[in-house]
Amino acid sequence: MSARSRQRGLFATQANMYMAALLLLVATLLHGTLIPMLPWRPDVMLVLVVTWSLLRGLREGLLWAFAGGILLDLLSGGPFGAFTIALLAAALLAGAVHRAAFHVGLLQVGVVALSTFIYEAVYLAALATTEHAASWGLLARNLGPSLLLNILLFIVLSRPLAWLNRKTAAESLEW
């Protein structure tokens, strides 16, 4: 590998890392400010993680899920690790479906829907291991709107994220 290509690869890696940090921080801030005020809550962090997992594969998806989950757990008064585990589970599914050529199709939309269900269920299960009662009734009521919002968010976010993927695709994420 030439010095120039190595330098370009290093730049792409750094850009990738900064971009990930920025997107995850923005998503965390949204979850701590705007989103709780909405009547129905889209899972921005989940959609980010799932979309990136579909774009880049399991390894980067898991890294994003871990970082995003830690940020949400730091912000939350719930059991630490609940968000991280839930996001990791969702990334695991999405990363397994990763294809080289990304497009918004039925499979991808299905992955977002299934990931939403897994994310909510794993989070509630993690919550139930503590003194908090698992609000399965609330989950049942919220799941429909959450699915719809997350799918819409996925359709909106997939294009700019695909563009970012192309711009930072020279190297994979190294932390």
Partner: protein, 289 residues
């Protein structure tokens, strides 16, 4: 050279004419010429002065308009400032009322040691904005963060109240902040009794910001409208703090206990100031002999 001589000659003539006019004016010989000239010029000066006056008026109007615009902007700024000031004063008046109530609460409960605190963050289902910095990202938790912590003497488990009633308890303490587990959180459980029938039970947080009174004995008289207070049993909360009002009773003969839905007295969505009880005399637990 010739051109220079010609120009010099012209210059000398003009200077000479000027000096002659000055001399004639000084001698008073130019006065009739000056009057005649004034009359002639007056014919043209009248309309010109009027036009000039109008032009000046327009310019003055423009200047006044600019000044008015500036004045208008200043007045708008003043109105905005006064509106903010009005809001601040209204807020201060409301705060004054709340703090007076808090003082009244302290006077009514001399045995309690209380510490004032301000809500800076809250979370949970169905809560609205106050002075909010951040909310809990989980829709399944009912918690808030206040701006007093370990350095203010706050410890885990301390009760949190408002003059209206019980809010919850401190669940996590930082140096400068503390997290409050609200009554409505599903992890919350408080020993309670009804004001009228002294019926005891446990008030637990339920879904979507509701409360449930559980473990009430089958034979106990529980009615819609009963006021629920803290019983003080267990020593976690001072006795007699209002919790809510019974809105529905669920009683089945096959069950061991009867339950009830309780509407909280405190409006958790509008919490801004709370009181952390840092010391109180716990109700002694009665033991069977």
């Amino acid at each position: 050279m010739l051109r220079f001589v010609e120009r010099s000659w012209l210059l000398v003539v003009l200077i000479g004419l000027a000096l002659a006019g000055y001399g004639l004016h000084q001698a008073g010989r130019l006065a009739p010429v000056q009057r005649a000239a004034s009359d002639v010029f007056a014919v043209a000066q009248g309309p010109l002065t009027a036009v000039s006056g109008r032009a000046t008026g327009v310019i003055d109007s423009v200047r006044r308009f600019e000044a008015m615009d500036q004045e208008n902007a200043d007045l708008r700024a003043e109105v905005a400032r006064l509106a903010v000031e009005n809001l601040r004063l209204t807020e201060a008046a409301a705060e004054n009322v709340r703090l007076r109530e808090a003082v009244g609460f302290k006077e009514a409960n001399p045995a309690l040691t209380i510490l004032g605190a301000e809500v800076i963050e809250r979370g949970g289902q169905g809560l609205v904005t106050g002075r909010v910095v951040s909310r809990d990202p989980s829709p399944y938790l009912s918690q808030l963060t206040i701006n007093v912590g370990r350095r203010d003497g706050v410890k885990e488990g301390m009760p949190v109240v408002t003059p209206q009633g019980l809010v919850g308890r401190i669940s996590r303490v930082g140096d400068r902040t503390a997290r409050v587990l609200l009554l409505t959180d599903t992890a919350s459980a408080v020993n309670a009794k009804t004001m009228r029938g002294r019926v005891t039970g446990v008030v637990e947080g339920a879904e979507e910001g509701r409360l449930a009174l559980r473990f009430v004995e089958q034979g106990a008289e529980l009615k819609v409208g009963d006021i629920v207070l803290t019983s003080g049993l267990g020593g976690s909360f001072p006795a007699g703090q209002p919790i809510g009002q019974v809105t529905a009773v669920r009683q089945k003969d096959i069950d061991l206990f009867q339950d009830a839905d309780v509407r909280p007295i405190v409006d958790f969505s509008r919490l801004e100031e709370v009181l952390v009880i840092t010391g109180f005399e716990a109700t002694p637990v009665e033991t069977a002999r």
